[in-house]
Amino acid sequence: MADTLAPGCDEVQFRFRNDEQVSDPAVTVDAFLGQTNAAAVRVEPGDDVRLLLDHLERVRLVEVNFPSFGDGRGYSSARLLREAGYDGELRAVGDVLVDQLSHMRRCGFDSFAPDRPMDPADAQAAFGRWPHVYQEAADATQPIWTLRHERDGNG
Amino acid sequence: MKILTGNDLKTGAVVWWDGQTWSLHVDHAVDVGDEAEPILGREEAARRVNASYAIDAERDAQGKVRPAHIKDRIRALGPTVRPDLTLKPADPEAGNWVI
């Protein structure tokens, strides 16, 4: 099984970063852990993303694969990386659809490479859909309860 | 015989392939033989039907089309417990056809 993936098989259609797009081919988690020079890794739904936590300083791109849009493990993987302090590029790849975009953003994804390009107008509407959110997630949006109350120390 | 059924995309109504279009009435259903897949593929792609599939049916002694499975007979007529909401509210025998 190849441990690198063909570059360019998923075109990045949306990106919310100002730095240069990482073009390194992403290796599997196993391969990444076994070598010291890879800076891009692809996480599959069954991978434990916490295995990467000790190595985050050398990761510049994490691709999280959604082989099927209904498999939501990638949302947890993304959030866990952001919670661990990962601030590199976090890219959703695979069966990424318009109606998942806002949720993916909230889980910390900042670039999107769907295997089928989406209508940019539909995508833009989706990204901008929700002015408010109910809960804390990996993005910077303040949950509604902060608008209702002053943020307290929250033990 | 093999007949085709599904739901209208916009209204959800149960429909039956009558050879040209999708009818509300199971008695209009035609035997599609081996042609189910290409017909369904074409009709779904054009969004003229939704959630469609092929089922077995037979013509009874009166020439009426009777789906093999009770579920599709209930789909064809309506809920047995609300005759007033079925396609044949005035027919007291309609429920017997289902069972």
């Binding site: 739904p45 849009f69 209904g70 498999d71 939501g72 493990r73 949302y75 947890s76 919670e83 659809l97 318009v98 109606d99 998942q100 806002s102 949720h103 889980c107 209508d119 539909d122 509407a125 859909r129 929700w130 002015p131 408010h132 959110v133 109910y134 809960q135 804390e136 997630a137 949950p143 509604i144 309860w145 608008l147 209702r148 109350h149 943020r151 307290d152 929250n154 033990g155 | 739901n7 995309l9 916009k10 209204t11 959800g12 109504a13 149960v14 969004r47 939704n50 959630a51 093999a68 499975h69 009770i70 579920k71 209930i74 789909r75 309506g78 809920p79 047995t80 417990v81 609300r82 909401l85």
Partner: protein
């Protein structure tokens, strides 16, 4: 009850706009049915046996009269003049058109209602005790916690593509009126059991209950979570499920399978690990938010001088009071259950006219509030005893006065093959026949409490595993067949029913239920309910009577 602020209102309105856009894209062909299906499901819209079916959320079963009026209006305007109240305290409409669905959601939003996440692989409606805020037996009203969980779970970005559906129930009393142990997460609000935490209120978490193909009673995972960590703990439970719940087999994808396969101890260990991590992430709303929500659930302005006597000289009224009312914590008040199970009727169905009447009665007699129960009835929680007789007369006139709560005629039945494409057998005609049989044979009254539940398929939406008598419809070589189960309980003495033996056809199972009842009547000792007698004498005497 909870009232939306500008943010809540904005959320439901945004959801309507989103769904309107998704529907447009489906009708234009930009979305395939496979892509659209999970989106419409998360707005409660199924493609069902006869048409689209819409499941509207009734959060923890609580409705204002304005909301009940709107549910009636929707039945008239968009459906066929009636609705069906479900075993999760929601309401369903069976004849919906996709092209109308966005407008229906827009109408619901006008009265602070929605159909958000009432289906799909996400967190569903949070259910609760139908006597919450009225019953004397509760520690606190559980509904503020249910509302906190509702907001947390709505559009939670990490948990919208779970392995399977996720159902949460919240109670706050020893008595379990919400089948709490049979939920994916069951929460009981409790006092801190440890010696040095006396008086502190928190939550006990039971995780991994459920019915369906493999019914399981949820084990206790954590006996006390402080209130200011409730959401964090729930999040930890969900995250472990999202990451490790099975996705290879739809019938093994609920959290009960994960908890069962890992073992409760290992599942708990993983949750506790995630919990420690999440405590550092600041996901918990401040206590001020819980306090803000609680304020909406303060007691209504009870009349402290309300008379506490009831004139029970009318024997029909007396029977209804004995069966269909529940003691209230406030002197002079009582909770009343409106039966949606008239003899020979369709369990849980109400016409638009009946819904309008119940809404008016809620406004006039119950501080504008009513409840949907998971047994598919409606409760008026806060009725003045002085007004109870007049209320009952109005119910009687409208066919809503059947005095059968928790009796054999108070049948829980799923819609079954008459309405549901998942079903193997019809359940409603069976419920009608059983209810008629026991009205005719006169044994209904003698039987006392007997909870009979019917499911038309193994998905168990009728909760048949939890019936004192349960019936499961199966497909036996193309014909409808029915298995009989005995000894289930959804209450705090939770148990799962056992199959008696070979199945019966429809008339056969009606006879079998009567035979079963006869065994009970013959064998019972003083004060025993059917369930008690069954638990004492076991299955054998019933088996012998049924199969000879």
């Amino acid at each position: 009850m909870y009232r939306y602020d500008q943010y809540d209102q904005a959320m439901v309105e945004t959801r309507v706009a989103e769904f309107r856009d998704q529907t447009r894209r489906r009708l234009e062909g930009k979305l395939s049915e496979d892509q659209f299906k999970p989106l419409r499901l998360q707005n409660g819209l199924y493609l069902q046996l006869h048409a689209y079916m819409l499941r509207v959320a009734v959060p923890y079963g609580t409705l204002s009269s304005a909301q009940m009026h709107m549910l009636a209006d929707i039945a008239d305007k968009y459906d066929r003049g009636y609705g069906h109240f479900t075993t999760r305290q929601n309401i369903q409409y069976n004849w919906i058109r996709l092209e109308d669905a966005p407008d229906i959601l827009a109408d619901l939003a006008k009265v602070e209602m929605h159909a958000i996440q009432t289906s799909g692989n996400c967190i569903r409606n949070i259910s609760s005790d139908q006597f919450a805020g009225a019953s004397a037996g509760e520690l606190v009203d559980p509904r503020p916690y249910a509302e906190l969980l509702r907001q947390w779970s709505s559009f939670h970005p990490e948990f919208l593509a779970l392995p399977r559906k996720f159902k949460i129930a919240v109670i706050a009393s020893e008595t379990d009126r919400a089948a709490m142990r049979l939920h994916d997460i069951g929460i009981r609000i409790v006092e801190n059991p440890s010696a040095d935490g006396a008086g502190e209120i928190g939550a006990a978490f039971y995780v991994g209950g459920g019915m369906g193909r493999t019914p399981m009673i949820g084990p206790l995972i954590r006996d006390f979570v402080p209130l200011d960590q409730l959401i964090t703990y729930a999040e930890a439970c969900l995250r472990v499920y999202n990451r490790y719940g099975r996705r290879d087999n739809k019938f093994k994808a609920r959290i009960k399978i994960l908890v069962h396969e890992l073992g409760a101890e290992e599942y708990k260990r993983q949750v506790e690990g995630e919990f420690v991590h999440l405590l550092e992430q600041g996901v918990e709303p401040p206590i001020a938010e819980l306090e803000r929500i609680k304020a909406f659930f303060a007691d209504p302005p009870f009349d402290p001088d309300a008379g506490d006597e009831l004139d029970l000289s009318d024997p029909d009224f007396k029977l209804w009071v004995e069966r269909n009312t529940h003691p209230h914590k406030q002197k002079g008040y009582i909770s009343a259950t409106i039966s949606l199970k008239p003899v020979g009727g369709i369990p849980g169905d109400a016409s638009a006219e009946q819904m309008h009447l119940m809404a008016d009665l809620a406004r006039e007699h119950s501080f504008d509030e009513c409840r949907v129960t998971h047994a598919q009835n409606i409760v008026l929680p806060h009725v003045k005893k002085d007004e109870l007789y007049g209320l009952w007369q109005k119910l009687e006139e409208a066919g809503l006065g059947t005095a059968n709560l928790d009796q054999v005629g108070d049948i829980i039945a799923c819609p079954g093959l008459d309405y549901c494409s998942l079903a193997n057998a019809r359940s409603i005609p069976l419920a009608q026949k059983i209810s008629q049989r026991f009205a005719e044979n006169g044994k209904g009254d003698a039987l006392g409490e007997l909870k009979l539940k019917i499911s038309g398929c193994i998905n168990a939406c009728g909760h048949h595993h939890a019936g004192h008598i349960g019936i499961l419809g199966v497909d036996r070589k193309g014909t409808e067949n029915y298995q009989l189960l005995l000894g289930g309980s959804e209450a705090e003495d939770t148990s799962l029913g056992k199959i008696t033996g070979p199945g019966f056809d429809e008339d056969g199972v009606v006879d079998a239920v009567e035979t079963t009842a006869d065994v009970y009547l013959r064998e019972r000792k003083d004060g025993e309910r059917f369930l008690d007698t069954y638990r004492r004498i076991g299955m054998e005497p019933f088996k012998e009577a049924l199969y000879g």
